[in-house]
Amino acid sequence: MKQKSTSILVILLIAIMAFSGCGGGSSGSSSGAGNANAASEPSGTSDATEATEPSGEPSVLKYAHVFNDMDGLDVHRYTTNDVIQPAMTICEPLVRLDEAGNPFPLLLEALPEMSQNGTLFTCKLKEGVLFHDGTELTSEDVLFTFARIFDPVEPSINYWLVDMIKGAKEYMNGEADQLTGITIIDPYNFTIELEEPFAPFISSLACEQNAIYPKAACEAAGDMWGVTSFVGTGPFKMTEFASKEYLHVERNNDYHGELAKLDELYIYNMEQQTGLLEWEAGNIDVVWMESAPAAQYIGSEFEENLLRIDLMGIKTLNLNTIMAPLDNQTVRQAMKYAIDQKGLVNSFLQGLANPTMSQVPPGIIAHSDRESFYNPDRAKELLAEAGYPDGIDLETYVDEKDEASNVLTVLQEQLKASNINLKVNRVDRATYIDMRRAGEVQCPVLTWYKDISDPDNFLYTFYFSDNSKMFSSNWNDPKTDELLLAGRSADPADREAIYEEVEEYLVVEQSVMVPLYNPSHFYLIADGVEGIFFDNSLLRFDAASKK
């Protein structure tokens, strides 16, 4: 007996030692995210209002978002916020938009001067603006950047934001060997000429996808631009980029404007749930979330830290106008009556979004406050009129990881009340994008955040005949095209009326889509963090600080 018990004790002892060895002596440093020494709150003795005061520890801000596509930083190669958000801390466009949505000069001395006919913009760069590698910003860099956007071999994916620049299309097609639309006058002065007047052009210049790259550093980096090397004029400069994991930047002390208050900034790609847990544990300072998980923080001990940002964006149910039965206008009208936007928002969104019946978000001209048409009985009537007394069957596809998938789950149930049977196929993103682009999805849910605060961005992008296939709308209508083109080149005073007309036409009369809601984003912000500027769905940390 005694022998047995000693041997058991020995084994248990070994087990305990093995386990504590496995546990690792490093369990003391509990921060799973980033620098072990910087994660915890700084000592209370430092005066946190002046960034230049030598406090005991560097002020480091950590921001977590779901950025599954944060593969690189080169905004010419990607379209998503996953790339734009980290990149914009480092690179800057010529102008930016302020809180009211009006452009102000960033790298320019003043806003570009527009010629009488609206096609020529004269620009003057600020002098003495340095890139992070010490070289000065000149007109050469501007020309280089736009030439790269329209590069015939590998153009920017977002070239269409500025392809109204004269000579852009020819240069991209290889017909010209220079970008004629941009003319350099001297190192600080240049002009941009457009094919035709485009009223919101200056706002287009404010898009982060049009940030100015340094010619020397960018050419030198070759394929590794935005991967191992990324240099700009921004308030932060890159320290380390681990693709799909995080971007680590530090303050640029030679910044041409007001210096950032933070010493360092991390932007993490974190899964939603992980991000929330990390924030609650105090390892992350700011975390993003969508409406659905946000509701659980209302009424909780963290309610004070919860910030809601109503976005200038939209979730819309696009209807495929060449796929039966939605090619029938009456059937499309029925869809208008079959959807309860309020009910949708009160479902998994728990009321934390803005139901809408307008394709243009509030705050942009041509937005309409019209009420929802929800009326299942009317929907059934219309279906019977159209020859479907027993209702219709629809089948659609959605990217399984997108919030749109949740939207369709609710809509599926809602539509039953109108005898509409909706089958939802969740597929991977690649398959979905493929099908949507080929115009084969019957009713895709579109998510769109504004590139510029202009109705053109929400109407022309989707419903102009050349563009509509890509979003599975397949809408091809001369009247629509005419109005949209007119709106692009009209005088600013006349534009509102034109866009109001086409928006009403598309939403109410033709029911080419059914608007659903304007999404909201939510953020949990740790105590002591201030000064973050929320530019729609993007965050700017230029003036952010952390106690």
Binding site: I11, I14, E154, T274, D428, R429, D434
Partner: protein, 335 residues
């Protein structure tokens, strides 16, 4: 424990006793296994290639998600060599695979081999962590159960082990994350910047395998403990501990070696679940994300790599096994 976890030992064949015969037979066995490995690897590349090219979804379309015209897409496809006929693509792929060059990821701009190396560092460490947890856990649990065979403790331990085998790794991972990460705050919730970040994932993933090892150990220990030479040792007055440790452990442990191959394969596969919960960027996540985006070079590289690791691990284990136990050599060498 599934049937897939063991090599079926054909005990009806007679083991050879002649040393000279054994040496040449050993050489023959090794050569045979190597040759088989090569064939299997080629089969792996073929299947991977075929499956990927049947799958719908154009990677270029995903990249151009917002908007691009056909001309640009065709241009980019040309660049990536996606317009060549399939057999040509396969040969090129095979040639490159042998040198470890899987090209560049479509989306991340890095060469695939770099991404795989990065992912493997993480998943490999995780695998080591799983082994470090599950093997001692399983051995100890199994040994204790065997020592206390038939008594309450035995049933308790075996219940723990049975329960462990039924616990989904991702569910267990969530629970561990909550308890140790959020409430007790002793271990990281996510990421593997510090070594402690591997603890919870290793436990979450390793519990099932530890439980299997426990049962395997107990069964084998019991068989061994029932044998004559153990009874002799007991009769001679050797202590229980010595009996357990010195005499039975080695023989009982050999089947665990067999299990190791399957264990490695399961870790490589199952790691993606745990990697998701703990936001770890390992090989599993790399492959799954590559699949979601139709990042063909990544998919091909990862699949081949994972299968190769498993095949080579199996080869090494078989060779090791062959050295230890002559019976295996004869039966498997002939197949």
């Amino acid at each position: 424990m599934t049937a897939s976890m063991c090599i079926y030992i054909d005990l009806n064949r007679q083991p050879a006793g002649n040393p000279q015969y054994e040496v040449t037979h050993l050489a023959k066995y090794i050569l045979n296994r190597l040759w088989q490995t090569v064939i299997v690897l080629i089969g792996v590349t073929l299947i991977t290639f075929v499956m990927i090219n049947i799958a719908p979804g154009d990677p270029v379309a995903v990249m151009m998600a917002k908007k691009a015209d056909e001309a640009t897409i065709t241009k980019i496809r040309e660049q990536m060599g996606l317009n060549e006929p399939l057999p040509v693509q396969y040969i090129t792929f095979l040639k490159n695979a042998v040198t470890g060059d899987f090209g560049n990821s479509y989306f991340q701009k890095y060469p695939v081999s770099t991404l795989i190396a990065r992912g493997f560092k993480v998943t490999g460490t995780l695998a080591v962590g799983v082994l470090l947890f599950s093997i001692p856990f399983g051995l100890i649990l199994g040994i204790l159960a065997a020592i206390f065979r038939g008594r309450i403790l035995d049933r308790v331990f075996m219940f723990i082990s049975t329960l462990g085998m039924a616990l989904p790794s991702f569910w267990f991972a969530i629970i561990l994350q909550l308890i140790f990460g959020l409430w007790l705050k002793v271990l990281p919730i996510s990421g593997v910047n510090t070594l402690s970040g591997y603890v919870l994932p290793s436990i979450a993933l390793g519990l099932i395998y530890g439980a299997s090892i426990a049962r395997l150990t107990r069964t084998n220990m019991l068989e061994v403990l029932n044998q004559d030479y153990i009874r002799t040792a007991h009769a001679k007055g050797v202590s229980e501990a010595a009996v357990v440790l010195r005499h039975s452990l080695r023989n009982a442990a050999i089947p665990i070696l067999t299990y190791l191959g399957t264990l490695i394969k399961n870790i490589l596969g199952g790691s993606v679940l745990v990697e998701t919960v703990f936001s770890i960027k390992g090989l599993g996540s790399l492959l799954v994300e590559g699949i979601m985006k139709r990042d063909i070079p990544v998919i091909q590289g990862c699949t081949i790599y994972i299968a190769t690791v498993f095949v080579i691990a199996n080869l090494l284990i078989d060779l090791l096994y062959g050295l230890i136990d002559p019976r295996i050599r004869v039966s498997k060498g002939g197949a």
